[in-house]
């Protein structure tokens, strides 16, 4: 049985890890990017990024002062959650504790009055996504999202006749419009199909995949590779100061859509690649997962 104290503690630890360290796949990709760049300016940006990750981890300090708003994915056997109200309250307490103790910047405000309660808690925030599976565990994924990258989100209802060409066009336009603002090198999440909300939702879900992970379907995997290669020819570079590395990866998810529509969405993650996950088993065993 999952106790509420256990959930609160897991959430606190996940937020601390997500805010103060980058996942190993992201660090690996940033190191490779550093090796690949040959001009002094982009090389220096990547060096500062890698050094920053080192300093943050050593001192348990946030990687970035924008510690994000708090998005969670809860995946697994949802029957292990005895009481959803209690479960969500425990997640909120974990967020409050992390805000106080890591500390995290209080970012969550009322969208109209802009009033800031100071604890990152408010209506529908933290936002929790549930993905039910038949696995013998519950996986909690902390996915704090900074505004720099989230503000560079784009969605369009293409016409079916625009097809794959239109999709590629929209992605390239979004990347060019974003420039260095989302703190490049970024990871691009693309959602194709579904409805407008589904497209953006799966674009965000795509960002949960580790760098280098390819879509299980060959055609989509090839499209990911093609876009990755093409985008890095654009020359925006780390922090928009020019260079060979504009993105670390491109992840695509798709859903079947109405015969009369073609939604496409782009969601971006900054170079920190902040995410952390842990699995909780039925017997109360907790497994901290890498990346």
């Amino acid at each position: 049985m999952l106790s509420e104290d256990m959930i609160e503690d897991v959430v606190f630890k996940l937020l601390k890890r997500a805010s103060t360290s980058s996942p190993p796949d992201v660090v690996r990709a940033l190191n490779e990017a550093y090796e690949r760049e040959d001009e002094p300016v982009p090389k220096m940006q990547l060096k500062a990024i890698l050094k920053n990750i080192e300093v943050a981890q050593e001192n348990s300090l946030p990687l970035c002062q924008d510690t994000g708003v708090h998005i969670f994915f809860v995946k697994g056997n949802l029957k292990l959650i005895p009481y959803f109200k209690g479960f969500e309250d425990a997640i909120k307490r974990g967020v409050m504790k992390a805000t106080e103790e890591v500390p995290l910047r209080p970012n969550a405000v009322h969208p109209i009055t802009r009033k800031n309660p100071g604890n990152n808690i408010g209506v529908r925030m933290p936002y929790i996504n549930y993905i039910p599976t038949d696995d013998p565990w519950i996986e909690i994924i902390a996915f704090p999202k900074g505004a720099g990258s989230e503000n560079m989100s784009f969605m369009s209802m293409l016409t079916p006749s625009q097809g794959l060409k239109g999709i590629k066009e929209f992605i390239i336009e979004s990347v060019i419009k974003s420039g260095g603002k989302p703190c490049t090198p970024t990871v691009i999440g693309v959602g194709i199909g579904g409805t407008s909300d589904i497209a953006m939702h799966i674009a965000k879900e795509a960002l949960l995949r580790p760098i280098g992970d390819r879509h299980p379907e060959k055609d989509i995997a090839e499209l990911e590779e093609e876009l990755l290669k093409a985008i890095n020819e654009i020359g925006i570079g780390p922090m928009g100061l020019g260079g060979k590395t504009t993105v670390l990866d491109v992840h695509i998810e798709y859903a079947y859509c109405h015969t009369a529509s073609l939604p496409v969405a782009v969601n971006t993650q900054c170079w920190t690649g902040r995410r952390a996950r842990a699995r909780i088993y039925e017997d109360g065993r907790i497994e901290e997962m890498e990346g």
Binding site: N52, V55, C64, G242
Partner: protein, 200 residues
């Protein structure tokens, strides 16, 4: 590309010698200020009053830091990376002209009117690596005080003492050059090639 280590306050000569792509490390007092600081400082100046700190020859850091007060009431910098400077585009030329700030630290660059104001009044834009907040926090050795904390932690003026803050890339120099405009130009050229690769 030349590397400089400069100490605040900066003279006009200090900043006029810098060119885009040069690297700067900074020592001395630096003021944070973003949206609210720009709005209120300019409002006060219009009423003939002065903001609580004198920005003349000083460095303004576009940053909303995470700060923490210890048991003795002393403030410490927890995380202090740059915020997106383009939000201040509409107010920066006037801010530079009125207050004589010599350098602005931020990320993402600023628009043409700021580039022009920097050329006219002798100021530069220093690009700090976005998100590198732990690195920056490490370079701030002391917090000398805070003004306008009533606007909230990220929007206040934090008076910070830097030691070897950097590397900062000169993104806009005092001669009308902008690294961001150069990159935009290159991106426009590269876009053709990218479209070819993608068959669009």
């Amino acid at each position: 590309m030349v590397e400089y280590r400069l100490k605040t306050p900066l003279s006009e000569e200090d900043v006029r010698k810098l060119n885009v792509g040069d690297i700067v490390y900074l020592d001395g007092i630096i003021y944070t200020g973003r949206d609210e600081v720009h709005i209120h400082a300019i409002e006060l100046a219009k009423e003939g009053k002065s903001p609580p700190v004198d920005f003349k020859d000083m460095v303004l850091f576009h940053c909303g830091p995470v700060m923490k007060k210890d048991e003795n009431g002393e403030w410490h910098v927890i995380a202090a990376g740059p915020t997106t400077s383009s939000r201040m585009n509409s107010l920066e030329p006037e801010f530079i002209e009125r207050f004589g700030v010599r350098a602005i630290i931020g990320k993402g660059g600023m628009s043409k009117p700021t580039v022009d104001a920097m050329k006219k009044h002798g100021a530069v834009y220093l690009a700090m690596t976005g998100g590198a907040a732990a690195l920056a926090a490490n370079a701030f050795k002391k917090v000398h005080g805070v003004e306008w904390l009533e606007f909230g932690m990220p929007e206040a003026i934090w008076i910070l003492e830097a030691e070897n803050l950097g590397p900062l890339v000169v993104g806009i120099d005092a001669h009308g050059n902008s690294l961001y405009e150069d990159v935009e130009e290159k991106v426009r050229k590269n876009e053709k090639k990218v479209r070819e690769i993608l068959g669009i």
